[in-house]
Amino acid sequence: MDPIILFFLLGLIAALLRSELRLPPAIYEFLSVLLLLTIGLKGGVELATQPMSTLLPQMVAVIVMGFVLPLLSFPLLLKLGRFKRADAASLAAHYGSVSVGTFAVAVAYLGHQQIEYESHMPLFVVLLEVPAIIVGIILAKGITRETNWKALAHETFLGKSIVLLLGGLLIGWAVGPSGVEPLSGLFFNTFKGVLALFLLEMGLITAQHVSSLRKYGIPLILFGLGLPLASACIGALLGNLLGLSVGGTTVLATLAASASYIAVPAAIRTAVPEANPALSLAASLGITFPFNVLVGIPLYHRLALQISGTPL
């Protein structure tokens, strides 16, 4: 097992046993800034080597997936899950968007297993972050004048994660491999260490949401496990269709399966105030994040192998 997973378990268990352990908020902020920039830079360096003619169709397909995923899950959440309209839309947005933390764990998993993947994957993270937020808000409220789209666009497109990911991508793309070389001490060499600390904190946060799960009952737990599995299949199929490698297909399946817990909660909280934020976070942090990190990613890897026809 990849040691970083053990750090996640350490945080989770420590918090469930009510340990006093907690990282200062500024440290958590710093770790996430480092992760986002590192992922952006890595992707940007590779982006320069890819011809636009292969990238563009992939980008369009990934954006379409970002719009389609919440549209598929919303009716299920509404009819099967019997969630209120606002909550169903909020959950659909959370699950349609992506979690950078989960992406980082998938990348570390592939590295640990020495599996190659297309290195422009961080671009897909950026592309998948926003569409689901837009769909979620429209599903909750319809297209009304009440929604302040200008303020919302500002918040979604200039949110911390998009700015850092996109900024890193552009810097990496502009300066190329030799340009980022002097930065590798802080950004690339420390990636696993930073990720380990980040996951320790994620374990602590997850535990808080696990304890609130009891309030929401079985349907939420079933959706928290079922939605990522269904979305992973769509992501894996798309990856295969786009001709991605097994590693790349695994990452795309993981991205489809992951649920946002930073960008979407903040945007939905302001745009759809009547949605219960604790419900969506209990699902995305209490169930889906730990599921993806502990079980999902290896499972999506097997799925990618199966779809590509590689013998297991």
């Binding site: 908020p25 303020a151 602590l204 946060i205």
Partner: protein, 103 residues
């Protein structure tokens, strides 16, 4: 000192996620100055540990005249109380240079 001359301290404790929207609203109401701090606490919407972005709380303190403080409280109750974790309270305060706040 007449009642209208009594400076008030309005304190708003709410979710940090709505800070930007809230400050815009307060500015429109005519609030000229305020102090914000990051805080933690517990209420009927659960523990707000303030450990990371979405579950953080802020406390906004405003010193102003009575009519403005009434307006602020009424507005907040109408716009935010249904859907957001928010409490507000208001008290009389003694300040140096009261004319600065009663304008």
């Amino acid at each position: 000192m007449s009642d209208k001359k009594q400076p008030k301290l309005v304190v708003i404790i709410t979710e940090s996620v709505i800070e930007t929207t809230l400050l815009t609203d307060l500015e429109v109401l005519g609030v000229k100055g305020f102090t914000i701090s990051d805080v933690r606490g517990r209420g009927h919407r659960g523990t707000r540990a303030g450990e990371w972005g979405i579950d953080g709380n802020i406390r906004i303190e405003i010193v102003c005249g009575e009519s403005l403080s009434d307006q602020i409280l009424a507005f907040l109750e109408q716009k935010y109380y249904d859907n957001y974790a928010m409490i507000t309270y208001c008290s009389d305060v003694s300040v140096i240079r009261p004319e600065k706040f009663l304008g």
